[in-house]
Assembly symmetry: C2
Homo-oligomer: 199 residues x 2
């Protein structure tokens, strides 16, 4: 699909059919989504891909699907046939920046004015969301609502302690969506988002 | 350009010609790059677009271009005709999640197990980098190396205290690149990045 069409079509979807997804499409999506930048080429991002129904139901429970349903949404986490869990390891970045070519003149690791691991996993998530649209499929996003639930998600999927799952991306065929209440906020005017020469 | 071609062609570039860039191309890039997701549709991400040569030289100084040059790189921050500074406001997310539809039953703001503002600005950065490739142009990335330099960048561009510039994206026509030493690390094997059913 044309790049600009993919960008324009991308939406956060909260209603899917339970129609199966072609496994080959998922492999093509993952092959594109893994091509994201990372500071120092750390490649600290990773994905856990879940199709097993019982595990998907558990993930949905942990991510608060019941609360979404109580708010009038469809079971958008457990319904579609695939969930991808994007993860990132902060520790991998520190290890990378303690290598000789990254140490400063005093032999110290760089200061981190920005936690680039979270920015980089955002790059991976965007690549994933766009690659899904490119296959004519739809994706949503949900976080684990608390650190406790996040730890539960980590345990369920056997994710190492040093790795942070940043949320879950349900993937499937999109169905007629109930618009998120957040959309009442409307798109901000360009002047709020893009500043010329200075803020 | 086809989406998969854009993803495959994206590279972090550290050498540009000083050839001008069509302003219409920059506008098309910004129009696509602003279409990124955000938690609660906060839209806390923004861009500062700089073309003025003196300001670009100042940005390059703040981001340590002299140190890059000392390491054998080209002046990749000041050389190309455009710099985009992606920014995000954490405060905007807290404001959004203190609105009635986002408070929990006890009337409290949600816990933030992940700083989603940084993940969201990563989505914006990825959209920007890809939109640049889609125009046949090239982009790089540099951070401000310390919190002090980051504050200097903020002052230079008049960015409000509550907004964090996460780095700078020089944009222009790519020239023959000196490969980054990080590339010696090679791409990780798929099994390190993609886990099936569980880690």
């Amino acid at each position: 699909m044309d790049f600009s069409e993919v960008i324009r079509k991308r939406r956060m979807v909260r209603h899917f059919t339970s129609e199966p997804v072609d496994p080959a499409a998922i492999e093509r999506i993952l092959d594109l989504a893994r091509r994201a930048p990372s500071a120092g080429y750390t490649q600290g991002q990773s994905f856990v891909v879940v199709t097993e129904p019982q595990t998907r139901r558990e993930i949905a429970r942990i991510c608060g699907e019941d609360e979404y349903i109580a708010d009038g949404f469809d079971p958008f986490i457990s319904q579609p046939p695939v969930i991808v869990v994007p993860c990132v390891s902060e520790t991998a970045y520190h290890r990378r920046y303690q290598e000789p070519d990254k140490l400063d003149e005093a032999g110290n690791e760089t200061e981190w004015p920005v936690p680039y691991w979270f920015m980089d996993v955002g790059c991976s998530v965007m690549g994933l969301l766009l690659a899904v649209v490119n296959e004519g499929l739809a994706a949503g996003f949900a976080g684990a609502p608390t650190s406790e639930r996040m730890a539960e998600l980590r345990r369920l999927l056997g994710i190492p302690d040093e790795v942070t799952p940043v949320g879950v991306v349900p993937i499937g065929h999109g169905a007629q969506d109930k618009p998120s209440p957040s959309l009442k906020r409307r798109r901000k005017p360009e002047a709020d988002l893009i500043h010329r020469e200075r803020w």
